[in-house]
Amino acid sequence: MSVHAHPTTPQFSANAHRAMGDGNLQEALARLRVGFSTRRAAAIADLPEFDALRDAARDIKIHTLAHLDLYIEAYEQRVKESGGHVHFARTAEEARRIVLDICAAHGAKTVAKGKSMISEEIALNDALIAAGVRPIETDLGEYIIQLRGEMPSHIIGPAVHLTKDQVEADFRRAHTHLPHDRDLTEPSAMLAEARAVLREKFIAADVGITGANFLIAETGTSVIVTNEGNGDLSQTLPKAHIVLASLEKITPTLEDAAQILRVLARSATGQEMSVYTTFATGPRRAGDPDGPQEYHVVLLDNGRSAMLGTEFEDMLRCIRCGACMNHCPVYHAVGGHAYGWVYPGPMGAVLTPSLIGVEKGGQLPNASTFCGKCEDVCPMRIPLPKMMRHWREREFERHMTARPQRAGLGVWAFFAKRPALYRLGTALAMRALAFTGRTTGRISKLPLAGGWTATRDFPAPQGRTFQSQWRDRTKAKAR
């Protein structure tokens, strides 16, 4: 069984510890830390309306979630009118079953897959393999981690934790039909190799599966956003196209999608626009020379309808851009795998307990320094630190009534024991650090904490400890 079915989230501390001693991972994380945030900042500087667009995007999602039942009905109606099918799945198990049935109806032997976090969430590949169907991940990053039998370590860069040499070794191990002595020193040679290997597989696939960034109610359309073009090949070439999407992907109109698209790529990769934004509506039509003969949408709930109307509803605005993890000091230090399941970083720390249960995921909200950077950069203005605090309160209450001093405290202890974090424990140090880091927002040297800062910058704290904020909060609550 894979990690999907058995999250290692409860072992976050041990995972994190191991990650910090992993040289390859630390090399990859050092690169990530600079690259993503620099590019995002540049793209945003070029668009004066960026913050106004964030507000607009947030408001669109708030409106949509408040009317979600009605937009789902409108969307479903439009999909049917264009000749497609909508399947509702309450649970991961139901979603897997629907996909397997469609594959069986087509006698599918291989499935070409575009990148889909929902596919990861429902552990679809394991189910396909068990049913004798071969899933082929076609996003380059997903392909690499499939070769390695790993989970994605980042929601937009699944293989972001790997170095070039590791990928080269994987390709040599997997592509045994190619000459042993071929030159793979350049990443471009590896890209060309993957392109050639996957091209044949696309053409042979019986069914194509993609995710969706948006489902448009106005037109019954699924939208995918990619840079490689693999999602488009996955949904254009096979006989049947299956879209896997969760309920909150519903977006009212094309105009609403345009508002969100303007903040998505800029927040994710710092591009003005991703290379391919594709709107797919129904199956092949009369006179169409290409496209799938069948078009299916699997609409997954898996705990989301229960998040509506709770303090975690805001999380349903998430557009999976990855900005929160790209700017998170904890993610920078430990990478994505330490989080133990599909969704890492701050968004994962909030979402994971909702989806796999607070018993398994309740530790993650402690994996935070409460520096607030994630909320600052979130294009959908999701109050991530506030929601992490909600989870911590819940965890705390749970342990008060059940077994005291367990899971959550273990993670907190892990961070508290790190030298740099230990130093952050006093308000005095906090203020001093806030001053040191004022100009750049980052601190590359902490006195007496060389072990930590030798491999990573520590973000300048905002001047107050978590404990002091917690005190204010509990006081405010008591009033």
Binding site: L68, E228, G229, G287, G309
Partner: protein, 225 residues
């Protein structure tokens, strides 16, 4: 209860709603009918010449190459020049778009074939029904005139767009789409394309030509250019 009913009633329970409320239904109906535009960046608000210039600049920033010709009859020679300069064979696969059918290809030596791609074509030619200046984005619609596979399978993609079809922003291009297909209706596939295919999945190094075209060459037909 079916999964569908259970999910919808679960949502309604969470929202404390029944689904029959007049004001809620009216709000949804109004948004789907009125399609409010929200915040449209000022950068695309320009006269036609300014839009074309911005479109070209943004497409180039996204690593496409661009050429402006003054008449459709100049497009074949420009396509031939691009293939020659890139050391590519003089072969081109295209759909049935009337714009291409009306062009005279005989002077170019280019070997033309028609129809979708099976993955073995080196060069594809398509026509975009719109361009969007704000990000240098092309809009292509599926169908026999411009098969979707030509946008993704060939190594090199040449796309022709008329300057008259270049809009400032996505919203204006969506209006153009609605004028072509009808309100609430879409082509099977609408591809918004901004630059050639790329990936940064190996060691966070950006490389062109992941699964889609390695090269994207845009020919803008601009009578005023």
């Amino acid at each position: 209860m079916s999964a569908r009913e259970e999910i919808l009633s679960g949502i309604r329970r969470s929202l404390k709603a029944t689904g029959a409320e007049g004001p809620r239904r009216a709000a949804v109906g109004a948004r789907l009918a009125m399609r409010p535009r929200g915040v449209v960046p000022a950068r695309g608000r320009r006269d036609p010449a300014g839009r074309t210039a911005l479109f070209v600049a943004m497409a180039q920033a996204a690593l496409a190459t661009c050429a402006v010709v003054t008449s459709p009859q100049d497009a074949p020679a420009e396509a031939a020049r691009f293939l020659r300069d890139a050391n590519l064979p003089a072969r081109l696969r295209m759909g049935a778009d009337p714009l291409f059918a009306d062009m005279d290809w005989s002077a170019t030596q280019i070997e033309i074939s028609h129809g979708p791609s099976d993955g073995h074509d080196l060069n594809g030619l398509s026509r975009a029904f719109a361009g969007v200046a704000e990000t240098g984005t092309l809009m292509l619609a599926s169908g026999a005139d411009n098969p979707t596979t030509l946008n993704f399978l060939p190594d090199n993609h040449i796309v022709v767009v008329s300057a008259d079809d270049i809009e400032g922003d996505y919203e204006s291009a969506f209006d153009r789409l609605r004028a072509l297909y009808g309100d609430g209706l879409m082509p099977r596939a609408l591809n918004m394309v901004t630059g050639p295919s790329r990936s940064a999945d190996i060691a966070q190094t950006m490389l062109l030509g992941a699964h889609g075209p390695r090269k994207l060459h845009i020919i803008v037909i601009d009578a005023a250019g």
